[in-house]
Homo-oligomer: 355 residues x 3
């Protein structure tokens, strides 16, 4: 879609994800509630309209994504970026977008292997924020992104204004080193049959200094640092992935610090670029008093009509421990547990269309 | 608007409805409020942006509609559908869309005869929900749609998530039998001068089992069933329509059941495809204790500049009885009455543009 | 983007404004809060998607603007217009749009000289409302717009419905008389180097009768009238602008009336159509008991990559007096002061892209 002016461009695209979810929770003992806390229903998980283009000089680019809320139906501006690319390959990006931290978060929701991202990602992700990023390649095969931002998840809605940022200062740096592989193989987990052997090794750090002094309202932390290291292996249909996450906190005087730790391992195998069985294991130690360590296993299969553009996915999530001490989104098909419960199971069936 | 890929398509369109409304209510006796409770103002009733297209194979289609709220201005995802058409004509549709129940609701807001749908429709409609529909033709001229969904109005915003659905199970089935008529004549009420004689007879049932056990929160019903039967007659400018509605409820233990009944009759005549006077009669027996039976007469005229794409409509709504015991939306230009009031009158003038 | 139909047209465009804002307030004496109430952060101030076109006959036109909220991310329908142009040049416009009052408000946010409109404009603007406008030229070089509407700011969200309008009646009339000047020079403040000498003299009045009788809820005014007079001078890079604002109020019985007054003066000079230093002075006498008169100075510079389509702006706002007795939006990078404070300073850096 080229505009009349000639110097501008605008390309529109979209994403839809429609799901059926069945969630079975055990009930808390002692609440007097009998068995049968099972909930099921349809969910229009994502519907996004995206645009991108350049103005006059292709060096100056922009992109946006409008996303609709699965519950309220409200449409919000998920991301908006302004980009400038220098002749030496250095790229600047400003606006609202994801801080360069966790691989699972940075992999588009449209290119996931499972129906939804991992629970461990929800715990450690820095989400969308607002700020400025510089991207460069110090050596071939190594890409480095560094972002100065308003803090983790500061662009997720509700605290977007300059005077409502959670942090006085936040810096996120991620490096990705690539060995071999087909072009862009690390944009998803999946290895297609025709893909060459490729390895992507990533490491990232996010450091955030919370608001201090008179501006510190309800927060309980002075600062925190998150670390992640991950590796992806792709080869002719086989994909292996592993990641570790760690956070260390600096509480306000008298506050409680916790140092959560997480683990993610994932494997899939593509048959004829059509069927892809996969399995995922997650571990979260929330380091919150009274909360169990959490083990989650997800297993399922993709049926690709046209790679990620039209695919059907079914998986089952087995939370072996009660989901307490962490934030649990029904966007994952999961629900919070009360302490002492037995864990839960979710069956998720999804059709995705990219247009 | 064909995308660069070649295998995708995206067509954009839109709808705008701008109104001036004057509403005159009598006041409740005994409230101490004097005469003069008249309210008037402009209303941007609807502004929708719509898209539709197919991907790769025209068998795989999608559509979406973004609609802005007349009060808050917020834009929400009104509908999103994923479709698949088999070679034998059977069509699957999944996503958020209207359950196949009332003719008045299924007729697009852009193709109504009056400024707005009927009040009786608001009472019995199943609205937008989320689910899966199958459409097929058991015999020529008979089209059947069956939908499994999250329950009536479960896609209208605020309860879209899988664990917030009003129903454990909801099924809606509608059949439409056509005798003669110009192609697509039953997409609106209006008969154009060049139209051949056509009759559309429809019948639909919606059955919903509310959430039970520990998941039943504030609801007062265990289940309910709605029925409707309608007939449309079109012939060279003359249009006649009639519909009946009935609901039977199964309350929770100790709850109150009501079995409301409704009636809709509508007639219009198109002169030169330019002017179209019309009249509509509605009757609602809410079966709610203390609420009157409701009789409403609407009369008005359309002036078509370019059929429904550019039209001007003026009508008057005469509510002969107080509007109590039902939900009354100001989207219709009406307002709730207190028991004992005298009914109300609304004058509505609208310009509509489709683009 | 011409639609398949041939008789319709739709052109899409957009606007993005991304800012970094540093705000320094003095603290209220006696509150026990120590020094250091400084807040800084990024702000995605505006992201708008706009569409416009005509249907069948170019005489019938429409336009819309979807704008995202800088804080909640929610996208709303900022404006929607339906237009009709008669052969004699008289133009009708209906829908949600800005009432023709203050020059600063009517100048697009994409064409401002400073990072943001003035504070005095926020005080006196009539904002977006809903209604009908007629535009005509009684003599050459004089353009008159008259609008009947639901009242000042009645289209800004939250009171858009017909029965929630703030006014029983509102009329806004503005005249603009042009002497010389390049075509469309008064669409912005900036004078480009190639521009001929041009003067635009404007005057406007807005009169609003608040809801009366039983419909008057929390309002304290029976009616108010606002006046503004402004003049713009453009000549080969030099731009000068001045405006005065005045309001007179008619309070309900026992209510408090205030007659606020405001002043705006602005000057800029374009060097090589690339750099444009500018300075702005504002004065507001809120006429509210206990509130100081407010003096604000803004100074900064534009760097144009492609006129307003791609520009970088930095300015500083020096509020010499505490911002009390008025509504202060963080959209301006400013924050409310408590009485007795010392005023505040805001540094604002913005990149804007139009696409």
């Amino acid at each position: 879609l080229e505009s009349a002016d000639g110097g501008f461009s605008l390309a529109l695209s979209g994403q839809g994800q429609f799901r059926y979810i069945y969630n079975q929770r055990s009930n808390a003992p002692g609440t007097g509630i009998d068995d049968g806390d099972n909930l099921a229903g349809f969910q229009l998980r994502r519907m996004k309209l995206k645009g991108k283009g350049h103005i006059a000089d292709p060096k100056v680019s922009y992109s946006f994504s409008l996303a609709s809320n699965r519950d309220s139906n409200n449409t919000g501006l998920e991301s908006f970026t302004l980009g400038y690319k220098f002749d030496n390959g250095v790229a600047l990006k400003a606006g609202r977008f994801k801080a360069p931290f966790a691989f699972d978060e940075l992999t588009s929701s449209s290119r996931q292997q499972a129906v939804e991202r991992s629970l461990v990602n929800e715990q450690f992700t820095t989400g969308h924020t607002e700020g400025i990023q510089v991207e460069f390649k110090p050596v071939d095969d190594l890409k480095v992104k560094a972002m100065f931002s308003d803090g983790a998840n500061a662009g997720e809605g509700g605290n977007g204004d300059f005077n409502e940022t959670p942090a006085d200062l936040a810096v996120t740096v991620r490096g990705d080193y690539t060995i071999g592989g087909s072009k862009g193989f690390a944009k998803d987990y999946t290895s297609w049959v025709e893909d060459e052997m490729g390895i992507n090794i990533g490491a990232a750090v996010h450091h955030e200094v919370a608001k201090t002094g008179v501006n510190q309202a309800t927060g309980t932390l002075d600062a925190f640092t998150r670390l992640t290291v991950d590796a992806l292996y792709n080869n002719a249909g086989l994909s292996l992935f592993g990641a570790v996450y760690f956070e260390t906190q600096d509480a306000v005087t008298g506050g409680v610090e916790s140092d959560p730790f997480g683990l993610l391992a994932q494997a899939g195998y593509t048959i004829d670029d059509t069927w892809e069985p996969f399995v995922r294991y997650e571990f979260i130690d929330t380091d919150v008093a009274g909360a169990d360590e959490i083990n989650v296993i997800t297993a399922g299969v993709n049926y690709y009509l046209k790679k990620h553009s039209a695919k059907f996915t079914v998986d089952g999530v087995f939370a072996l421990d009660p989901l307490t001490g962490i934030s649990v989104s029904d966007g994952l098909g999961l629900q919070p547990d009360a302490p002492g419960e037995d864990g839960q199971f979710a069956l998720r069936a999804q059709f995705q269309l990219l247009f």
